[in-house]
Amino acid sequence: MFRRKDLLGLRDLSREEIMTILELAAEMKQKIDDPSLRSTELKKSSIVTLFYENSTRTKMSFMLAGDYLGAMVKDLGVSTSSVNKGESLIDTGMTLDQMGINVMIIRHQLTGAAHILAKNVKASVVNAGDGSNEHPTQALLDLFTILEYKKRFEGLNVTILGDISHSRVARSNAFGLTKLGANVTLAGPSTLVSNSMKCLGVNVTSDIPAAISNADVVMGLRIQFERQKNMPFPNLREYSSLFGVNNELLKKYAKEDVLIMHPGPVNRGVELASEVIDGKNSVINIQVKNGVAVRMAILKLLTESNVQGGGAQ
């Protein structure tokens, strides 16, 4: 069951809602590989992407997800729009609302931006990343991938490594995974993993071997240099040797069938060694495909549950 106007984060989603999305995503995934299954069920839907921050895969993934379901998908080039003339987010949203947009997909550098937009528009709003808060569709595709390979969440040991403090991916995954019964460990240097993250119901550690001991899933996160003001560690050489993961560490501590994940883009040789990224346990490329499937499911569910949106005045 899924009845919501917006998808803003995993913090407020129930276990049942998450499973509804994942189940529909499995169905949607077939449409990616087999063009004959692509449909026009969202042909009355108009979708706009509003990206205040750069993105390759998330934006493309949303646009294709809309295309595969027959929706009209437009990108508002934020850098060439009235945003540059100082238009407020709410005003931009209300303008798009008047044009009959059904779904607005927003990425923004500030926490809570998607929430304030959602509060002020009739269209459904999908949070494609807000500040250091949440990136729910990334977490949902991660959950989908984990479920695809591990067939369960209950009792799984999932370790997320790297720049946790700036990571909306880590946070959304922590909210989702703990709801579904997995044991989540967040690991990285103490300057990048705050102890107060424990309030999300996760373990926090700077001991990398301990963090990946018995891990069923190891997810690496990129160091977000663009968000660093005071360098939280001396240099990349020290980082990769003390906090990076290579095959040797994995072999010694993690489970043999450990799943290696990464939301991309990857800094090769920093958080994960290249041998790990390209190794047999890596599903990093599968995650990308699953991302399209999960976003198709979300667009379909939101369009069906928000009868108010889209110019229906």
């Binding site: 500030l110 926490t111 809570g112 304030i116 500040g131 909306r168």
Partner: protein, 428 residues
């Protein structure tokens, strides 16, 4: 014009008075405080079951004039003050242009005399343009009536310059109001802690305040100057202030109603009406502030009344302006939280909003002594007061207290013998 206030509970902490009596105003002065005054008067106010208190004094108010008149003006801000029972407010210098010379101090005084309904005392900036590089015209501003200097909204980051400011202001007996914040540690939009982690907001840690509290008390001590610390919000700051006082440093401190009433746990979403600087801290910190008010470590309650336009609050939380309005909610919150909560007696609460701030400024106000200027407020302390933001006199509506159930209503505000608020309504 004579006003006779009958049968009120006269609370005058400066004179150690808390009793039922009458008070006679003659012209702009308090003529007599006694039982059973029978003098003829032009107006008689029945104050039975009401508190008759010195007009409230707020050391920390942003009137936004000149430069930000879309947020508040001297006309609207002083009316908000009057409705809240304040007869004197100190106006912070973060105007545009910054109040850093005597011309701007004169402008604010002139505007207040023309458009205002209560006393406005301008505060000058510590440095030119609040840029932190050279001293503002401190002496000139003192000569034309600046009541204090403050960098407001930030600290003077260069300690040598801050030390000079303390030493220089001391010559003019001008108090230095210190906003304590080490900016490199304060790059967030709410308190650093579990709630920030939950909401995905970057945090402002307690040490950002405590570092400057410690630094500036040390500087004040070394030049034997007075220092007044604005809006103290953390438990550790309180400990430091207490210890500094024991060592004989001339430090005074203020706390805001929102810091003694709310905590970070009241922030449940991205409503920027809960965003201010310093941020709402932990429950433990809020408790320490109440305790410090009780034991006297913090002697002043000031509002940090910070009006903003709706558009500056109804936007992305991290982008939204800091601060909330406070003039019309301060006293009812004090009665509800501090008096009903058992932290302060009515007289202790009133002292922190009248005579104590007057002493920080070194002005002869904040008491009901005979011969004093007749700045008087009459309050019904028993009235339920559910805050209705739409009815507030401030031009701004940015407060998290809409719908909050507080206690006490201001019925009369009398400024220099002239009634500005009557039966809870503005007369002008």
């Amino acid at each position: 014009m004579k006003i006779l206030i009958k049968n009120g509970r006269i609370i005058d902490p400066a004179n150690n008075i808390d009793k039922i009596a009458d008070l006679l105003v003659d012209g702009d002065k308090i003529a007599k405080v006694a039982e059973g005054i029978t003098d003829e008067a032009d107006k008689v106010i029945d104050a039975a079951d009401k508190w008759v208190i010195p007009g409230l004094i707020d050391l920390h108010v942003h009137l936004r004039d000149p430069g930000y008149e879309h947020k508040e003006t001297i006309a609207t801000g002083t009316r908000a003050g009057a409705m809240g029972g304040f007869t004197t407010v100190c106006a912070m210098p973060n105007t545009d242009p910054v109040t850093d010379n005597e011309i701007l101090v004169e402008y604010i005084k002139m505007k207040a005399a023309r458009d205002g309904v209560i006393n406005v005392l301008p505060i000058g900036a510590i440095t030119k343009g609040q840029q932190g590089s050279e001293l503002a015209d401190i002496g000139k501003m003192a000569q034309v009536g600046a009541c204090a200097i403050s960098e407001d909204g930030k600290s003077v980051s260069n300690p040598a310059l801050m030390k000079n400011a303390l030493r220089y202001a001391k010559m003019f007996d001008l108090p230095v109001f210190d906003h304590c914040e080490e900016i490199t540690l304060a790059k967030g939009s709410m308190n650093a802690g579990d709630r920030a982690s939950l909401l995905g907001l970057k945090g402002i840690s307690n040490d950002s305040e405590e570092l400057i509290v410690a630094r500036d008390m040390i500087l004040a001590g070394s030049v034997k100057a007075k220092i007044h610390l604005c809006h103290i919000s953390t438990a550790e700051s309180v400990i430091q202030i207490k210890q500094a006082k024991e060592r004989g440093i001339a430090v005074t401190a203020e706390a805001t109603p929102h810091h003694f009433t709310l905590s970070e746990e009241d922030i449940t979403g991205y409503d920027a009406n809960f965003k201010m600087n310093p941020p709402l801290r932990s429950k433990k910190d809020a408790e320490a502030i109440r305790q410090a008010l009780k034991d006297g470590t913090i002697e002043v309650i000031a509002t940090d009344h910070a009006p903003h336009h709706t558009d500056e609050k109804n936007c992305e939380f991290e982008k939204a302006a800091n601060g909330i309005i406070g003039l019309e909610t301060a006293l009812p919150l004090g009665i509800k939280v501090l008096v009903e909560g058992g932290w302060l007696t009515p007289s202790e609460l009133i002292a922190k909003m009248t005579v104590n701030p007057a002493r920080v400024l070194g002005i002869d106000k904040g008491t009901l002594g005979e011969g004093m200027t007749a700045d008087i407020t009459i309050v019904d302390p028993n009235a339920e007061n559910i805050f209705d933001v739409s009815k507030m006199a401030s031009k701004a509506k940015n407060t998290p207290f809409g719908g909050y159930k507080a206690k006490g209503k201001v019925l009369y505000t009398i400024v220099s013998g002239e009634t500005v608020v009557e039966n809870g309504k503005l007369l002008k």
